[in-house]
Each structure stands twice: as C-alpha cells, then as structure tokens.
C-alpha cells in the first residue's frame, strides 16, 4: 500500500520556475486581497459624508462625520406595495429575519433527516432516492422557471412567504449540503444506535438523542451559511415574493432604478448597506472557525 512516484531526473529549471511563480502569485493574491478591502472601506467612509463633501472628496477620510445619513435610511427607505400597504425598514427587517430563520431551519432539518435515513437505513427505494439526488444535482433541467411560476401561482405559494418557506426543501436530498451531511452520518458507526436499542430506545431516540447531537457542528455550519445566503437573497423576493420585501430587496430598490424616486443620496445608500451587513458579519465572525474547518466537498458517487 505504498504510493511510489518515479521522477526520472531532478528538474532544476522547474524548481526555479516554481519558486518564481509562487512569488508572483503571492503578490497577485495580496493585491487581490487589498482590492477586496477597497469597496467595504469606501462604503463605511462614504456613509459618513454628506453629498457636497462626497463630490469634493470621494475617497478620503470624512472631514465631519455626518450621522444623518443613517437616520435618513430609516426615514426614506420605504416600499409602496399598494396605496394602503407601505413597508418601512422595520417591516423589511422582520421579513428578512422570518425568511432567513424559517427557510434555513426547515431546509437544514429536512436535509439532515434525509441524509440520516439514506445513510443509515437500507429499505426499498433507498438507493433509488440517493441516486435520484445525484441525478438531480448533475443533470440540468433548463427552462422550468415559467412552469414553476404557474404551479406556484396556482397553489397560492407565489407571493406567500409562509408557504414559500415550508415548501422550500423540495430538493433537500440533493446538492452540496446533503452530501456534506450524508458523508458525516456515514462516518459515524451504527454501534451507537445498537447501544440505544439495548437501553430500550427506538429509532426516534437513536436519531434525536444520539446522532443529531453528534452531527450538530456540521449542521450548524450549513445553517449559518444558509442563513447568510437567505439574509442577502434579493432574487427570491424579486421573482417569487415581491409583496413582502426583505432588507436586501428593499436596499436593491433604494439604490437602483428607484433611487431618484426616494431622493436617496450616495451617503444614505452606503449607510443602508453598512446597516444591513451587521447581522451577517456578527454571525460569520462567531462561527468562522467552524465554517473554515467543516466545509469540504467530496466526489459525486452515484
């Protein structure tokens, strides 16, 4: 069981080229990292400038910190759905929280359930469901968006946040999250369940009291990543839930085509972005170590 590699001749030129290439790529990587810092720094600085100062000093440090931009966001950021329904920042914050928590919890829970059952139980159709998940992941079905719109509209799911959330885990036995959890459950021996059965427990006890706590770190990573994705998801709201805008969609409207309508200044737009990132930055910072260590993707064995 020993891997042996035969290198015929020690290629010295390649050694030098390799070192030079690594040095060049390191410079490129550092420049790239600096470029990633420019926009967030510009956002924070601009959020403290009034319009006149911004025109004269777009990049530099603010001369006088102008905090009114932040209160301006709360005053101006409103989305009018009908003449009688107008949502402000707090409504949108509520929609963001409800959607992010709801869809992430329900998706992670059902993905965990499916991964556990398919990895630990052999029953009629279990292999078929697993392979179906792989097929759904790798075989693209293109152009079903119009049909999805018609079906969702007919079932009342379109523009209904509650129904949208509870119907979201429709392909939860497919995709990267499923594979991560499936692999994690596979690596745990069935002996734990046997011990539960000897103690008088059943399959429910084995799953909820034994395996679920053991898988919690991986499930937490998936939950956090899913929450971050949902918090910033404006496309779902643009296409499927236009009448219950979340903060991301609200800000998208605020800075985009409707900017003139809101009479929003660039400082207020940047203040809005600075506010919307606070929950994600806090959540990511708290779980960063876990995310960096747990996120691996294997192959697609069907």
């Amino acid at each position: 069981m020993e891997k042996s590699i035969k290198i015929k001749q020690k290629p010295r030129v390649l050694d030098v080229v390799s070192k030079v290439l690594i040095a060049i790529m390191l410079v490129v990587l550092i420049v790239y990292c600096i470029s990633l810092l420019i926009l967030p720094v510009w956002m924070i600085l601009t959020s403290f400038k009034n319009s006149i100062e911004y025109v004269n000093n777009s990049f530099g440090w603010p001369e006088n910190f102008y905090f009114l931009n932040y209160s301006g966001v709360f005053e101006k950021l409103q989305i009018r759905i009908t003449d009688f329904v107008i949502y402000n920042v707090f409504h949108m914050l509520g929609f963001s929280t409800l959607y992010s928590l709801g869809s992430s919890l329900i998706n992670v829970f059902f993905t965990t359930c499916m991964a556990y059952v398919l990895s630990k139980y052999k029953f009629f159709g279990s292999n078929f469901i697993y392979n179906l998940g792989i097929v759904v992941m790798i075989v693209p079905i293109i152009g079903s968006l119009p049909s999805a719109m018609m079906v969702r509209d007919a079932l009342g799911v379109y523009n209904n946040m509650f129904l949208h959330i509870i119907t979201s885990p429709s392909t939860c036995f497919s995709g990267t999250n499923f594979l991560l959890l499936y692999g994690a459950f596979k690596s745990l021996p069935w002996d734990y369940a046997e011990a539960v059965f000897i103690d008088g427990g059943n399959d429910f006890t084995a799953f909820f009291k034994m395996f679920l706590p053991m898988i919690l770190p991986t499930a937490t990573v998936i939950f956090v990543l899913s929450f971050l994705g949902s918090w910033n998801d404006y496309q779902t709201f643009m296409i499927w839930l236009p009448d219950t805008p979340n903060l991301a969609y609200g800000l998208y409207q605020f800075q985009g085509v409707s900017r003139q309508l809101y009479k929003a200044t660039i400082g207020e737009i940047m203040a809005g972005f600075s506010l919307v990132i606070i929950p994600t930055v806090v959540l990511y910072s708290a779980s960063q170590g876990l995310i960096l260590s747990k996120f691996t993707v294997g192959g697609l064995k069907g």
Partner: protein, 315 residues
C-alpha cells in the same frame, strides 16, 4: 413473543423512516417532478389572446431555434454569452483557484489573513459587494467615473463624459466577467485547501523522498489526483448550471440589461419576472431543447472524468 417484539420494532422503524422522508418527497413530486412535466407539456402549447391554451405542435421549438440562429437575436446572444462565461471560468478561474489553494495549503506568507479577507464577500454579503461595485463604477457620481474624468481617460467622444463601464457596448460584458472572476474566490479558497489538508503528510513526505521537489510535481503527482473528486464535482456542477445561472447580471441591471450582456439564466429570469405569460411556451420549448443537449454532455463528462481521471486509490 420475540416475533411480536420484532414486528413492533419494524413498525416503529417504518414509521420513523416515513415520518422523516415523506414530506420532502411529496414536495419533490410537486415542485420538481410535476413542474418539469408541466414544462414539457407547455412546450407543445400556445397561449391564445383570450388566455386559453391550444396545441401548437413544434411551433415553439421552431421559434426558439430561429431566435437562436438569427443574427443579433437576444436568444442566440444569451446562449453565446453563457458558453463564454463558463469557458472563461474554466480556463482562467480554475487554475487560479488551484494555485492559490496550494499556496494556502502550504501556509504561505499571511495565509491566515488571506483566508479571512477572501471570504469578505461572503461575510459582508455577496449582494452588498455587488451593489457597492455598481455604485463604484457606474453613474455620474461614481468614484471611477470621477477618476476617469479627472485623468481624462475613457472619455466618450460624443458626449465628452466618462464612459459608463456597465452600459458601454465595448466594456459591459467584460465588466460582468471581471466582476464574476473577482468575486468568485471565497468558497473555492476554503473548499480546495480543506480537501488538500486531508492528504496524509506521509504521502507527501514519501513523494518528496522519491524526488518530488517543486510545486508542479507536487500538484500533478500528488495533490490533483487526490483532490480529483472535489475538482470533478465543481466541474460537473458548473457545467450543469451553464444555462441556468444568471450570475450577477440581474443584480447589475435588474430587468433592463442591454442585449449584449444577456445570458440564458438572466434571459429566463427577466421574462418570468416581467410576467410575460405569452412567452412561457417558447421558453419551455427552449429549456427542453437545451436540457436534451446539456444533460447528455454532463453525463458524458462525468463518465469520462471517472474513467480517465486520475485514480485516488493508493497503488
């Protein structure tokens, strides 16, 4: 007595399995199977002016193919741009992901700080970074426009104003591609180094004893073969999403993108967002055609990668 106990145990197990998987499977049947079957059905129908549907034989397919082959038609342009985006991603991004991941795996200078900074778009939010990028480069009060104006470069001959990179025909597509590449490193620079970390240090040490002495040899003889399952997963899922990903075009332009930056994912999202129901049958027909082309290609690529890709088994 024992048989009774076993039967009760089996009932509990069946109940357990059903309670955990029934709901997602029912959702799958409605929102995946039925939606796709309905999409196939829609491809053969047309919406009449009074809102009723009539059988249209292959008319929708013909309309889509005509759009695909007509010069300057947005459908053909969308498909061309989707393919270009995928190829650029494959040729430029993939080698960079691997080299940068190798450097992080080897714990290069400032590797810890780099791993945090490359995740910034994910930490801060990809959406916010995208909006910041738009505000930074596009519009009369964008810093980049002011810079162009100050340096008197990239000035439009007709208007005498700095060009808007997102709305200039020569620069718009390149700008969306640049942004896609610029923003894409975060997840890759977590997943690939993590996959590399799982390679046993003994394997690398023994390879070094056998004469492996530089990055190229280590990559080709050790790392690439051992992380090949991860690599092929990304290649396959990337190919599978070639005509469904809208990328950042929706964020950049909402539904007002110029034709020359459209891709297939965006084209579909735009028409559905605009609730243009009369176009649905043609879109469904186009989707069915593209699926019939892309699905076998993806399966073939997966088969070839498994058959001819490097084995991860230790010899």
């Amino acid at each position: 007595m024992q048989r009774k106990k076993a039967s009760s145990h089996n009932k509990v197990r069946t109940l357990f399995i059903l309670s955990l998987i029934s709901y997602p499977l029912i959702l799958f049947l409605i929102f995946y199977v039925f939606v796709n079957l309905n999409s196939i059905r829609m491809a053969f129908f047309n919406v009449k002016l009074d809102g009723t549907w009539e059988f249209a034989y292959f008319d929708n397919f013909i309309t889509f193919i005509k759009g695909l082959t007509e010069t300057g038609n947005v459908i053909g342009m969308s498909m061309y741009n989707s393919i270009r985006m995928y190829l650029i991603n494959l040729v430029i991004c993939m080698p960079l992901y691997l080299i940068f991941s190798y450097m992080l795996f080897k714990q290069c200078f400032m590797h810890k700080a780099i791993r945090i900074v490359v995740m910034l778009p994910q930490i801060i939010s990809g959406f916010v970074i995208c909006m910041l990028f738009v505000n930074f480069i596009s519009g009369p009060d964008a810093p980049l426009s002011m810079l162009f104006s100050h340096l008197k470069i990239f000035i439009d001959d007709k208007s005498g104003m700095p060009i808007d990179l997102l709305y200039n025909e020569k620069t718009a597509f390149a700008t969306t591609i640049f942004y896609g590449i610029w923003i894409s490193f975060g997840t890759s620079l977590i997943v690939y180094p993590n996959a590399m970390k799982e390679i046993s240090s003994e394997v690398i040490e023994s390879a070094q004893l056998d004469g492996v002495s530089n990055m190229f040899q280590e990559m080709f003889y050790i790392i690439l073969p051992l992380i090949f399952p991860t690599l092929s997963t990304f290649l396959i899922t990337g190919l599978a999403g070639i005509f469904t990903e809208a990328g950042t075009i929706l964020a950049f332009y909402e539904t007002n993108a110029p034709d020359y930056v459209h891709n297939m994912g965006y084209y579909y999202a735009k028409l559905v967002k605009n609730a243009n129901e009369t176009t649905y049958p043609m879109l469904a027909a186009g989707g069915l055609l593209m699926t019939l082309i892309v699905a076998p290609v993806v399966i073939l690529v997966r088969h070839l990668l498994e058959k001819y890709g490097p084995s991860t088994e230790v010899q």
